[in-house]
Amino acid sequence: MSVRLLVGTAKGGFWVTSGDRREWKMDGPFFKGWKVTAGLRRESGDFVVAVASDVYGPAVFLSPDGGEWEQVEDGPAYPDVGDRRLRQIWTLREHRGTLYAGVQDAGMFTSGDGGRSWQPVPGLNEHETRGGWMPGAGGLCCHAFLFDHSNPDRMWCGISAVGVFRTDDGGATWIPKNRGVYWAHEDEEFKEIGHCVHGLAQDPGDPARIYRQDHSGMYRSGDGAETWEKNENGLANSFGFPIVLDRASRYLFAVPLEADQYRLPVGGALKVVRSTDGGDSWQSASEGLPAAHAYGGVLRGAMAVDNLEPGGVYMGTTSGTLHVSRDLGDSWANLPVSLPRILHVSAWVE
């Protein structure tokens, strides 16, 4: 058993591997000079990675082994109408053999052939509220997908500064589901959008139980996002970006930042908060993390779990530091690396 991390940075990707989660080996960079913005390991074992360049734009690459890469020729793309542009791919997921890409400018694309060709999802991309979609500080991006393993027609997505949408008809139509969440900005016409979801996590045994790190704080839903309630007991700061859930323990992890004009670790101490009771309460789980003069935040895609027992938790910061826990956040190790700004972290067991 070994753990492989994909660490995507603003200047390339890195593999970080370990057989015991104590000693780590780093290889890279690959895609040197490119932003590595999202990664997926398919059920087949193949890798799918999204890259982007401020000059040359985004692309999707495929690899059977993480060593040899081939760019997809028919990647996600918007038609030549209006001013919508494909600027970056924020998330890649696989569900029931279909690949999903969440992109900026906000939209969703799917692939039924393992990522070789991609089609837009017009029910979301051309949504009736689209005229009211406003970009947040990170851009107008679709960055999170959740699936209902008991219902193939139901799925959720999160769009920054717009909100959570749900489909119950296999993606044909999408309905904003943000009742109970504070507005980030109120649209004059479309009152059901303007909610800035930052991250989503889901209970693996109950797909209707969803956890939401939002611009306006921490929320959860027990009814498939029909309604949301704040769950911030124990959180001195509820602003942040990532939220991840360990499958076996159901522990939740998030990284609080000073809201929202600062977006820095509070007091210069990098902290992780953990909930061991489904979000009823939160406690610090930061032993070993830099406690002073740490000013790098953790972006929404830069935290991951490996789902081993006990679970490993991994995160990278905007300062290029990389932090690993092999005991569900009870203790952390700071890897001796200084990477470019870390955009993405994925973890896979091999």
Partner: protein, 108 residues
Amino acid sequence: MKPTVTVSLPSLLEPVTGGVRELAVRGDSLREVFADLMEREPRLRPHLFNEAGALRRHVLCFHNGTNTRWLGGPPAGGDDSPGGHADGWDTLVAEGDTVLFMQAVSGG
């Protein structure tokens, strides 16, 4: 036989082309040179050209050392560069000409 033109690419695009930095392509004009380049390396298209088919905003293209945006002629269409550009894509090329792509400093 159409003239052969040597196209040079920046190293950042090596992952796209599998390491190829230089290609011999054929065409009577820059427009035909670009078309042949896309035929040979279709994966370059989204990196060099925008959705409308014009050069991406921060991509520079030089024909025999001259910025193609200075060559005049009708716009390539849909160029999102500030103010638009007459890209000179109908400029005729000759055997042995060079076309160089690189990124503009404006790209950051």
